[in-house]
């Protein structure tokens, strides 16, 4: 592709809309998470530009936007997963219950036990189903005896809606499950640590529709107890599971609002262009 061609495409009407700060309601009362002035750089490249956004208690916040818009990067800032990437530099204010999570004395290990994460591709450890779920509890020393651990594993699997399918195979390897089961195993693994917030990074993009439906149901159920932030490629999924939706575009947060109003009455032209399928 020549430079002239790229230039032309960038100037097409669908994209050529100015972003002047975030429209809608990015900030809310009594938030779980507050983030202000978030910038993220990968080496010399800036991936996120000045995002201000709150995540409410026990809500499901969906983040949508075209590929490379920074939604996953933003999500990974919330439990400092980006710390594991050496060239990634995160700046801005992040507060969980008013506590600065990037403070010097803040421990990423402790933070991640409070803010769990489920990844795009199911990534069970090469261990048994039981050991996968017990992993976090063992790490953090959450249980004091075998019976308690058994109990915790069973409860977590039940909540993740997986127990019935695997109760006789708890000592078989987790990698032997189907894709959807693996992802629910990863969710069970995460809730076994009993976090306050669960981050989900396109958790269903590698799954078939039935497995996806199961996980979406699970998300709605879990939202009663946990705060959930989900990045998704699918606008329909955002509409189905979330109460609020944030639209990201080229590293900027364009619009945040109740899911209904984002999809029925978008304020920003870019949001409208995206949800009506003019690009993406």
């Amino acid at each position: 592709m020549t430079e002239a061609m790229t230039h032309n495409i960038e100037n097409r009407d669908e994209f050529n809309v100015e972003i002047n700060g975030t429209v809608g309601k990015p900030l809310i009362d009594d938030p779980k998470f507050t983030t202000r002035n978030v910038d993220v750089h990968y080496g010399d490249k800036q991936a996120i530009f000045g995002v201000d956004l709150d995540v409410g208690k026990n809500e499901v916040l969906a983040m949508i936007g075209p590929s490379g818009c920074g939604k996953s990067t933003y999500l990974r800032c919330l439990n400092r997963m980006n710390d594991t990437i050496p060239i990634c530099k995160v700046t801005g204010d992040f507060k969980l219950d008013g506590e600065d999570i990037y403070a010097k004395n803040q421990d990423p290990v402790l933070l991640r036990s409070r803010v769990g994460i489920v990844f795009q591709k199911p990534n069970p450890f090469p261990k048994s189903i039981y050991d996968n779920v017990a992993y976090g509890a063992r790490l953090h020393g959450l249980t004091s005896n075998r019976a308690e651990l058994d109990d915790l594993v069973e409860k977590s699997l039940i909540r993740a809606g997986l127990f019935k399918e695997v109760k006789d195979d708890l000592h078989k390897p987790g990698t032997g499950l189907s894709g959807g089961q693996q992802q629910r195993l990863c969710i069970a693994r995460t809730i076994a640590v009993d976090p306050e917030v669960i981050l989900m990074d396109e958790p269903t993009s590698a799954l078939d529709p039935i497995a996806t439906a199961l996980i979406e149901e699970l998300m709605i159920e879990l939202s009663g107890k946990y705060t959930i932030a989900i990045v998704t490629h699918s606008m329909q999924q955002a509409a189905r599971v979330s109460s609020r939706t944030a639209y990201f575009h080229m590293g900027k947060l364009v619009e945040v609002n109740d899911t209904d109003s984002v999809f029925t009455n978008p304020e920003h032209q870019l949001t409208e262009n995206y949800i009506t399928g003019r690009f993406g």
Partner: protein, 460 residues
């Protein structure tokens, strides 16, 4: 004609035929629309002639030269008086060696048998050389003539050349198989001869090794004892010491370099480890014998032990250090093959780095690491120079690392260096040991290569 003169003349002939072939192709072609109507470009016609004629001629020359002395010797022997022919194989080869010396030096021997044999040998060699020259050139010239005659514009010279090239490449690739076959046959024949003299069970289960008494095989009771158990135990002892050092250090080095170290430190440390891998084993052997062994001896004495001056420990430690980079680079490969998603999963649960490594990364990489350790074991078992220089010759049956032990490789070297008769039980024993060594390392290699390959497929 001497062999190298044959080669030079042959090459000149081939060069000439190349240009002739090229010229001929143009001469037979006709111009249409400013292009020759040849199937291939002219040089392919020249090349075809060269390959067709050159390869068989060179092959014959090579084989003839390779088997020349064997055949000529056999023919000479067959013409010797019967009492000479009746000599044992070892004596006969000694006899023939002297005959060859007479031929080479041009001296006259006072032993008439040898003198006659030498004349035979000389005459046969001359006939062989003459025949070789004639055969090689007749074949080359005949093929060149036929090939030149076959040149016409429709001849698919490029395809012919490419077919020959492909076969040449197949031949080169097949050398690997030939090598393996060569190894197997070269050890198996001598080993079978050895097992005719010494029963397999005695070799495998005997606990006494002293081949030195077997120098004079014709002496009564001079058959030596060839119980290889002390050698096997010694080999295992030293290899075990080496692995005890190399596996943890190599693995931890690999973990540190791949998971903790900054890019800058890695860029410095990895080449440093590679230096350790690039040092010749003879240097390690020298260091083990000159520095490490005396150090262990004086250190052991200072704490009230009595280490032997050629202790298994010294050889084992130095061998271990030599294998560290080997283990670490293999582990590095398998550790970096563990998908990042696996690590992310663990970090996401709030695991520390070391928890992630010990509980997720290492278990996931375990098959590959095991494969690497097996390869390292194979290398330790087959390592020669360090043990030759630092472990000594005493075939003690012991597992005490402070005592001197000997290994399979040390014995092979000892039995085969110096001038021995080629087929005394002593030298044959070396081939039996070689067979054992080859089999054991072969099994280890095949298992580990299989394990590593399976492991890689899992994450591809």
């Amino acid at each position: 004609m001497q062999t190298h003169i044959i080669i030079i003349t042959l090459l000149a002939l081939l060069a000439f035929s190349y240009f002739t072939g090229r010229k001929r192709s143009i001469a037979t072609a006709s111009l249409s629309k400013g292009r020759y109507n040849l199937h291939s470009r002219p040089q392919y016609y020249g090349m075809m002639v060269v390959l067709w004629a050159g390869l068989p001629a060179l092959l014959i020359l090579f084989l003839w030269t390779a088997f020349d002395s064997t055949v000529v010797s056999a023919l000479t022997v067959s013409q010797l008086p019967e009492d000479v022919q009746a000599l044992s194989e070892g004596k006969l080869s000694l006899f023939m060696n002297e005959v060859k010396n007479i031929v080479d030096s041009g001296n006259v021997s006072d032993d008439t048998n040898k003198q006659i044999a030498a004349e035979h040998y000389k005459r046969l060699s001359e006939i062989s050389l003459l025949a070789k020259t004639v055969v090689v050139f007749v074949i080359a010239v005949l093929i060149i003539l036929v090939a030149l005659r076959s040149i016409k514009p429709t001849l698919q010279a490029r395809n012919h050349v490419e077919r020959v090239m492909t076969w040449l490449m197949i031949a080169c690739a097949s050398i690997a198989i030939l090598t393996t076959v060569g190894i197997v046959f070269s050890v198996i024949f001598e080993a079978i001869q050895f097992f005719k003299a010494v029963p397999v069970t005695e070799f495998l289960f005997g606990t006494h090794w002293s081949p030195q008494t077997a120098i004079r095989a014709d002496q009564v009771g001079g058959s030596g004892s060839f119980g290889a158990i002390p050698l096997f135990v010694g080999t295992l002892l030293i290899s075990l010491i080496a692995l005890t050092i190399a596996v943890p250090l190599g693995l931890m080095s690999a973990i540190y370099l791949s998971e903790y170290a900054s890019a800058r430190f890695r860029a410095f440390a990895k080449p440093m480890l590679e230096i350790l891998a690039g040092i010749p084993t003879v240097v390690y052997g020298f260091f083990a014998a000159l520095t490490v062994a005396p150090f262990i001896r004086s250190f052991g004495e200072s704490i009230g032990l009595e280490p032997s001056s050629e202790s298994a420990l010294a050889a084992g430690i130095v061998m271990g250090v030599m294998i560290i980079p080997f283990v670490s680079s293999l582990s590095d490969d398998v550790i970096s093959a563990v998908p990042q998603a696996m690590r992310d999963g663990s970090y996401g649960m709030g695991a520390t780095k070391s928890e992630t490594i010990t509980q997720v990364v290492i278990p996931a990489a375990l098959p590959g690491i095991v494969g690497g350790v097996l390869l390292a074991a194979s290398r330790a078992i087959g390592e020669t120079m360090i043990v030759v220089m630092a472990a000594g010759l005493a075939a003690n049956l012991t597992v005490n690392p402070l005592e001197a032990v000997t290994t399979v490789t040390v014995q092979i070297v000892t039995l085969l260096t110096g001038d021995q008769e080629f087929d005394s039980p002593k030298t044959l024993a070396a081939f039996a040991l070689g067979l054992g060594l080859f089999m054991v390392t072969l099994i280890l290699n095949i298992i580990s290569l299989h394990v590593v390959r399976k492991y890689r497929e899992q994450y591809d």
